[in-house]
């Protein structure tokens, strides 16, 4: 029989030690977060209710709910995605299906990567300079949504490109061989087979657009604006609006004398919206992946 030598035993001990060290590191990253989220919910619990969601902030934002910021965020997200999703998906189709591997394509790819890394506050400066001042939109929902659209665009391009390139090349070749044109192939073969990946990428940007503060702070969101409660069309395109993320910043730092539970509740709602959207995207991805045929 083989016998375990001292050397091997030591090796195995080191292996076990290292494994637990890394496990510990992973848990140390995740556990505090669960505690933090638990703490937020615990502190927010007294005021969380449907009423909180559906009433405007009152008394200088020291009481009441979050209807105006919630609706503002909804507007910003929908308009920005309505712009960035089609443009982003088509740009990705161009890069993945049409572009040859030449200098220009490399520049475009590089631009996409770097666009994704631009800090959100620089996007805010860009939005202020380009949309608010240069294009003359003023501080409005439109300007803020377009700023968010530019911010989410590169990530949508990147995720869509990944989804498109996951469709095997043989699918396309088979389609070309029966005489389909490039666009017909994309329309009937490539897109249906990659729609899950594309959708997930877009949904993930919904939560990013909802959570960003800096880009909307100087381009369209205001500290306070009362709107009609219960009216889904209370904002116009050129109005200024409140935004959930900025509302949290405002009542947490700018307004003295806010009861403690209000910012906690706002944070929990924002966190809840973002995590729900992301969980949906992840669920969708897992479900669609399990149905994938190749």
């Amino acid at each position: 029989m083989f016998e375990i030598t001292a050397h091997v035993r030591k090796k195995q001990r080191v292996e076990q030690g290292v494994k637990f060290l890394f496990l510990g590191m992973t848990l140390l990253m995740i556990l505090p977060l669960l505690l933090i989220v638990g703490h937020l919910v615990y502190k927010a619990w007294p005021v969380l209710s449907m009423d909180f969601l559906l009433t405007n902030p009152i008394r200088g934002m020291r009481a009441g709910g979050i209807w105006a910021p919630l609706l503002g965020t909804l507007y910003l997200v929908i308009i920005s995605l309505a712009v960035s999703a089609p443009v982003g998906v088509m740009a990705a189709i161009y890069l993945n299906e049409y572009a040859q591997d030449n200098g220009f394509t490399r520049v475009v790819n590089l631009a996409v990567v770097n666009l994704a890394g631009v800090p959100s506050i620089v996007h805010a400066l860009f939005g202020l300079g380009a949309f608010v001042l240069f294009a003359g939109m003023g501080r409005s929902i439109l300007a803020a949504a377009l700023t968010l659209a530019v911010m989410t665009l590169p990530v949508i391009i990147a995720s869509t490109k990944e989804a498109l390139s996951a469709v095997p090349r043989s699918f396309r070749e088979a389609c070309w061989n029966v005489g389909a044109s490039r666009w017909q192939t994309i329309r009937h073969i490539v897109l249906p087979n990659s729609i899950s990946g594309i959708l997930t990428g877009v949904i993930l940007q919904v939560s990013r657009a909802a959570g960003e503060t800096a880009p909307v702070m100087f381009t369209g969101a205001v500290f306070y604006k009362a709107i009609k409660e219960g009216d889904l069309f209370a904002y116009g395109l050129m109005d200024q609006c409140m935004a959930l993320s900025m509302h949290l910043f405002t009542i947490a730092t700018q307004v003295p004398g806010v009861p403690e539970s209000l910012p906690y509740a706002t944070a929990v709602v924002l966190l809840g919206v973002v995590l729900t959207v992301n969980a949906t995207a992840i669920g969708l991805r897992v479900w669609l992946r399990s149905r994938k045929k190749w």
């Binding site: 292996e15 161009y94 620089v122 400066l125």
Partner: protein
């Protein structure tokens, strides 16, 4: 007729697609152009570059002695980023190794989902956590009067940049061909020896890129540091000093600076500085990742 229409539509759609592809480049230049345009007037006329980069005096709203020196702000950004990376890199890479090499597929999927959700938490919520929970913890642990410090900002930024380090690092490890692993294990290496001797050297560039992307995230982060670092302009001498970063300065002062005033233009120039820093960091990271892809191909 129908055929003609189809062809015409196809042509239109393809043109549209091409235009969208080109728009990506336009946006990058657009961002640089518009940020530059707003700051250019003062950059070439009036700004003392030496004072701008090497003075710690930042008095943009003073009546008599207006000073625009960003050295302290640079130091703030630098110190918060370094602290965040010192905390986040070991944990991030450790978690990446654990997820990629040490756990079973089911746990791996679960952990990856958790990391993804972690990455989705908005920065303003992180800032709020820093402002409330971290603040009171730091006051209690270190017995200081105020907890909005460099340490607080560093911790928050570390938590924020860990997910990106984990996911890119895990990608880099996964990109190492399985034949490397099989060869090492067949020689009798333990998993740790495999990680240490084989995977680290093989995935070095990808891991470095993961760290750089974490740096990029930390440098550019705005709301969290605005709320958690205490917002006082100075070069920090200890972990418990409040600091202020470049990003937080723009966010805090842009609303009050009159449009096209010197102060307003200086804030845009800070934007250009930030853009340049993150551009260089991301470019380096991208070249490293690309290097790996090429070697594999």
């Amino acid at each position: 007729m129908r055929r003609f229409l189809n062809r015409w539509m196809e042509h239109g759609i393809e043109t549209l697609i091409r235009l969208c592809g080109i728009s990506a480049v336009l946006f990058v230049f657009g961002i640089f152009y518009f940020v530059f345009r707003e700051g250019a007037g003062y950059l070439f006329n009036g700004l003392n570059l030496k004072e701008f980069f090497f003075s710690i005096a930042w008095h943009p709203t003073s009546v008599t002695h207006v000073r625009y020196g960003i050295l302290a702000l640079l130091a703030g950004t630098f110190s918060v980023t370094v602290l965040a990376m010192v905390l986040a890199v070991p944990f991030g890479l450790g978690a990446a190794i654990f997820i990629s090499e040490f756990c079973n597929p089911r746990v791996r999927e679960l952990l990856k989902i958790v990391i993804e959700l972690l990455a989705a938490i908005p920065s303003v919520v992180w800032g709020f956590i820093g402002l409330t929970i971290m603040n009171s913890l730091i006051i209690r642990w270190f017995n200081t009067p105020i907890g909005l410090t460099l340490l607080n900002g560093g911790l928050i930024l570390a938590l924020m940049s860990v997910p990106i380090i984990v996911s890119i690092g895990e990608d880099a490890l996964k990109a190492v061909p399985d034949s490397y692993r099989e060869a090492a294990l067949a020689m009798g290496a333990t998993r740790w020896q495999l990680v240490y001797r084989v995977l680290f050297p093989a995935a070095r560039n990808g891991l470095l890129a993961a760290v750089l992307l974490g740096v990029g995230r930390a440098v550019g982060e705005t709301m969290a540091v605005l709320m958690a670092t205490g917002h006082s302009v100075r070069i920090p001498t200890s972990l418990l000093d409040p600091v202020r970063t470049l990003t937080a300065t723009i966010a805090a002062e842009l609303g009050e600076a009159p449009v096209r005033s010197d102060h307003y233009q200086v804030l845009f120039i800070i934007g250009i500085v930030l853009f340049t820093i993150t551009f260089c960091v991301n470019l380096t990271a991208d070249l490293m990742v690309r290097g790996i892809r090429k070697r594999q191909a």
